[in-house]
């Protein structure tokens, strides 16, 4: 039990501390820990976790930590994963504020962030690709994807609303 909590804390701390670009940049790294390294979830289960997370407001990284941590080890697991995701960077921002303020405009830091951004984009695109495997078992699911693109870009529907609509659609069509 203790080692499981420790694994959760370390896995989420590692994902959080390598993700540059806020919570969404952390998603691929969480997936690597949860699906590939520790095998806590399958690809499909992780996709479901993201669906639930995206249907709710608030930061995505902490919602994933709570969800995965709870499923693995109950409330203590959720707490361990949350501490891992939040504590190191929250402490750093408080303790290093003066130092970071001085360097937040430095060309060195900007250069480093410029270098890492394309990597983050590729990692997120890879996550989408990985999750697409198994997500399109029939033609209707392709139709849903197309409908999602139309809803997002032309109808400007809210992502949370699209998730709820898709679930209602599935209930009627796939059952």
């Amino acid at each position: 039990m203790l080692s499981q909590l420790w694994d959760l804390l370390i896995a989420f701390a590692r994902a959080s501390n390598l993700g540059f670009g806020g919570g969404p940049a952390v998603i691929p790294l969480i997936k690597i820990e949860v699906v590939e390294r520790y095998h806590w979830m399958t690809n499909a289960e992780f996709t479901d976790a993201l669906a639930v997370g995206n249907a709710l407001p608030g930061p995505i990284a902490t919602k994933l930590a709570g969800y995965v941590g709870y499923q693995e080890a109950g409330w203590l697991g959720a707490l361990a994963a949350l501490i891992g995701v939040i504590l190191p960077t929250a402490l750093a921002v408080i303790l290093l504020a003066r130092f970071l303020m001085k360097y937040s405009n430095s060309p060195v830091l900007k250069g480093m962030l410029k270098g890492v951004r394309p990597v983050v984009v590729v990692l997120i695109a890879q996550t989408a690709f990985d999750m697409s495997i198994g997500s399109f078992p029939n033609l209707i699911t392709w139709g849903i994807a197309l409908g999602t693109v139309v809803s997002l870009y032309w109808l400007k529907l809210h992502p949370a609303l699209i998730i709820v609509l898709a679930m209602a659609f599935g209930l009627v069509v796939f059952r």
Binding site: N17, G23, D48, G58, P59, L96, N105, V116
Partner: protein, 177 residues
């Protein structure tokens, strides 16, 4: 009183922002600058710059920093709890429902329909971030090398992230712009 304000202010921002931490930034600003006047616009911009210099979720970093500035360590705790606790409790509750009913045909049908949506949403996140990530052709080079390392060499992303930052330091870090 201040602690309660911090908790409520960040709870409100968190529960009105869909789309992950970055979508909360304007809502946090509305609370910290406009409503409670904990800081002015410039200080808020500084706190954002500090947060962006570090990895990890942006919403909790801003909560910790602003909470600490307003009311010390307890303030940081109150703001982080406000940001995280309400949505985590709901997500855990929904998650346990999914576990409990994982064999029900209704739930399976709903999840089958929602997975393509999630794939599109994640792809859209990549696309959105991509708009700002490729100002020069060498940044495209970084992306190509990343794909090659991931798929052909099976290199761990952590290594690629650190290397790309060192590369950025060496190549982009010296020029003024």
């Amino acid at each position: 009183m201040k602690l309660w304000d911090l908790f409520i202010g960040f709870t409100r921002a968190s529960n009105l922002g869909f789309g992950g931490g970055p979508s909360l930034i304007p809502l946090v600003k509305a609370e910290a600058v406009d409503r409670y006047k904990w800081m002015d616009n410039e200080e808020f911009a500084d706190s954002l710059a500090i947060g962006n210099a570090l990895p990890g979720p942006i919403a909790t970093k801003m909560a910790a920093y602003i909470g600490y500035k307003v009311a010390g360590w307890l303030g940081a705790l109150a703001a982080v709890l406000g940001t995280v606790a309400p949505t985590v409790i709901v997500v855990v509750f929904l998650g346990s429902l999914i576990m409990k009913y994982s064999n029900s045909p209704e739930l399976k049908a709903m999840l089958q329909a929602v997975r393509p949506v999630v794939v599109v949403l994640v792809a859209e996140t990549a696309y959105d971030m991509g708009k700002k990530a490729f100002p020069t052709s060498s940044t495209w080079g970084i992306a190509v090398v990343t794909i090659a390392l991931l798929y052909l060499a099976n290199i761990h992303p952590a290594f690629i992230i650190v290397t790309s930052m060192l590369f950025g330091w060496a190549v982009y870090g010296r020029t003024k712009k």
